[in-house]
Subunit: 221 residues, 3 copies
């Protein structure tokens, strides 16, 4: 069990850097689609990758935020953004899925980390879950607002994103409150979020629209 927890902690730590890099890639690729130059690519990569964690730290009162004190996050984001400055992933199915899976890993780990940190700073279970979800979707919202789009997480017809984040965050918050929380539990919750997210992409799950919408004008998708 001790071994399992140690492995989980290590996985978590490296996983978080993977998550930062994944969010940085999504920011950089959005910048490329908008024809930005390399300054824009690197700025959007860093803002997307660090934004969620900075919002989380401001809300719990952890100032200056980790992103400004531990440079490994900024370096991971810059490296990932730098890759996109010199190389564009070929647009085939395998690349698309590598990116989606990397992003889902970031989603799952950020939801868990955000909730755990919120709990450690003394927040109640519902508050911690809410903040875990915010950490998770914050970076993507910043990316989309800065590139002039309605945030993906709000757009209709998109696959589930906030739901897996909130599910994992809520389960972690309950576990923290009612059990002796162990790192492997967090990893299991992250895996749950990743599974829901990937399932949503594979099977095309998305949130329902209100029933009365069908009677309005045809929605623009």
């Amino acid at each position: 069990m001790a071994d399992l927890n140690e492995t989980a902690s290590t996985l978590h730590q490296y996983g978080e850097l993977v998550g930062v890099a994944a969010f940085a890639l999504s920011g950089a690729l959005t910048a490329v689609r908008r024809n930005m130059d390399i300054v824009g690519i690197l700025l959007l990569a860093v803002a997307t990758a660090l934004g969620g964690g900075i919002i989380r730290d401001l809300i719990i009162g952890n100032t200056p935020p980790n992103a400004f004190t531990d440079m490994s996050y900024a370096v991971a984001a810059l490296l990932a953004g730098g890759v996109i400055c010199v190389w564009h992933p070929p647009s085939n199915v395998m690349t698309k899925w590598s990116l989606e899976v990397t992003d889902a890993i970031g989603l799952g780990l950020f939801a868990v980390t955000g909730t755990v940190i919120a709990h450690e700073w003394g927040m109640s279970a519902p508050g911690a879950a809410l903040l875990g979800m915010t950490t998770c979707i914050g970076g993507g919202v910043i990316r989309d607002v800065l590139s002039g789009q309605i945030p993906t997480v709000l757009r209709p017809g998109q696959n589930l994103y906030a739901i897996p984040a909130l599910t994992a965050a809520a389960v972690v918050a309950v576990l923290l409150r009612y059990t002796e929380y162990q790192p492997w539990m967090g990893l299991a919750c992250a895996a749950l979020a990743i599974a829901i997210r990937i399932g949503s992409l594979v099977f095309g799950w998305h949130g329902p629209q209100p029933w009365y919408m069908r009677t309005l004008d045809a929605p623009e998708r």
Copy 2:
């Protein structure tokens, strides 16, 4: 007088939840107009309803913000958003006015609460008034930026919104500084903001444009 103050405090407390619900409704209705699904409707309702207060708390340094520690705000926002997920208000004059009046109540109460809280945290009168106005318009700005629009409060040809908020906030700030502030005064200031806002809607008041604009291209309204 004591009775009056007690009534005022109670009114204020319930009024604030009414304000949160009103802002949540406006967020949810904006989401419906953008054809969002129920996840988007609930997220935009919560972000609109809690955004102004979260900005206020971050600025005064009250971390974590009330919205993350007192769940009654989030619950009120989710309930109001949930109503819009299953029922769309008929678009007739009475509904429009119910919504406008509810929103004006939120406007007035948030301006007063924001200013009082800023004062309690030791801010000077002008700073407190500025923050009261920010609290008030913050939620709406978040709603509009997230749904891809220029914030209503900035758009030309709109009825007064920032002005009633700033008026009430400024009067409260002066009263807090120079009198023994009583809750009924706050309620009176909120009523003042509500009256200016409703008057602006009834009589079509809006801010003037600079005189030289008439000589430029016809403004796009």
Copy 3:
């Protein structure tokens, strides 16, 4: 030397108000281009001028931010915005350059001030440089997001903005770390940023796009 430092401090202090006014002018002029009324002009002027400093103060944990405690910033921003409410600068070359030079002064001074303040609050050199740049570009990003545009600092084909900011911030951070920092050094770094920015406008420098973009669809500029 003492005289030089005193002059530098004074220049810095007045320079910062000049910078605030310059950013307020850019906010107000953006509002005019969007046909906003005078409420919108003043709000956008204040948000642009104070936004960067507020973000900086929230990140270092200096709450409430200076902009809410020292009213000279808000007054400078309102005065600059008020000028644009009654007078529109003629669109000739001299006016354009006055505005660009004023904005560049703001850019240089904000980068230096942001970094110095971050250092005083105990941040490491890379964190302080990152925050200095953020302070600098924050106001402009807020201005562009609120007026419904992709931030100038990210748009392709724009002259250098983040680069001079980051250069000055990085040099200041290194000087703070390895030398006995003197105010005149900060002024020299601000001058460096101003020179790079003006040079970028005169000679049309801008960041390169990734080499592979030439092979994609023609970029929309």
